[in-house]
């Protein structure tokens, strides 16, 4: 989870999380809830780090990404001409490391809601609470994050030569 949220800064983030957990261990009433408790501490530490770096946060203009459709792009560019399931073949051409590289290329403010929603399974209201942001802001960032993710998948596939190689074995 730390790696998906913070990319290369994951180890620092986990250390920060462990320090906070160590300091506040007495607040953990039910040991069974330990995993959820640690995950919340991790997200809090990540959120605080984002706030510190807020000056460098880049909002991406909606217009820049809103018109991009990965589905349409794959259909139009037809990267696997002999395939009868070109969209699935496109997704299968990514290895796990490729997906993490693509996620790491997204600005953090978009990556965090995307990871928490679609990889960690949190509800949007919960994400808003965890990241201490209005629900509308989280929904808008999820929307842009998805669009950016789609565009980065396509750009990365081209750059990494995945479209020539075809689905990963």
């Amino acid at each position: 989870m730390a790696r998906r949220l913070a990319g290369e800064a994951a180890e620092d983030l986990v250390q920060e999380c462990l320090m906070r957990a160590y300091r506040s261990f007495s607040t953990l009433g039910d040991p069974e809830a330990g995993v959820g408790w640690l995950r919340q501490i991790l997200v809090n530490a990540h959120r605080d780090r984002l706030r510190k770096e807020a000056r460098s946060v880049q909002e991406v203009a909606v217009d820049e990404v809103d018109d991009f459709s990965l589905y349409r792009t794959i259909a139009e560019e037809d990267p696997f001409p002999y395939s009868d399931s070109v969209h699935m073949d496109f997704l299968h051409s990514f290895a796990r490391e490729d997906v993490h590289t693509v996620l790491a290329r997204l600005p953090e403010i978009y990556r965090s809601p995307l990871v928490l929603r679609y990889m960690e399974g949190y509800a949007t209201k919960e994400i808003a609470r965890m990241l201490d942001a209005p629900l509308g802001t989280i929904l808008a960032r999820l929307h842009r994050g998805r669009k950016l993710f789609e565009r980065e998948l396509w750009d990365y596939a081209q750059e990494a030569g995945l479209l020539r190689k075809g689905p990963a074995g």
């Binding site: 160590y22 349409r72 993490h100």
Partner: protein, 82 residues
């Protein structure tokens, strides 16, 4: 579709597909997207792909911690308790 539901173009339906799958649209918008999907095959393809993309993200969730990072963190935890 109710009488009050207006038809929406593909561009608008596509923008709302992920929110539609997440059930985070208002009931009116949810109904508008459904109304559009009822007659637009192209957007049904977009919808299926959006589902696949969600599954694709979810399937990439677990991963092993690299051994050297695990070693650093274990040492770090050990030092915390000293």
């Amino acid at each position: 579709m109710t009488k009050a539901t207006r038809l929406i173009p593909c561009s608008e339906a596509v923008k709302q597909l992920w929110d539609y799958l997440d059930h985070s649209l208002s009931p009116e918008d949810q109904e508008r997207v459904e109304g559009h999907l009822a007659f637009c095959r192209k957007c049904c393809g977009e919808l299926e792909f959006a589902k696949e993309l969600q599954a694709f993200l979810a399937s990439n969730e677990s991963e092993e911690i690299p051994p050297h990072v695990k070693e650093h963190l274990e040492r770090f935890v050990g030092e915390l308790g000293e």
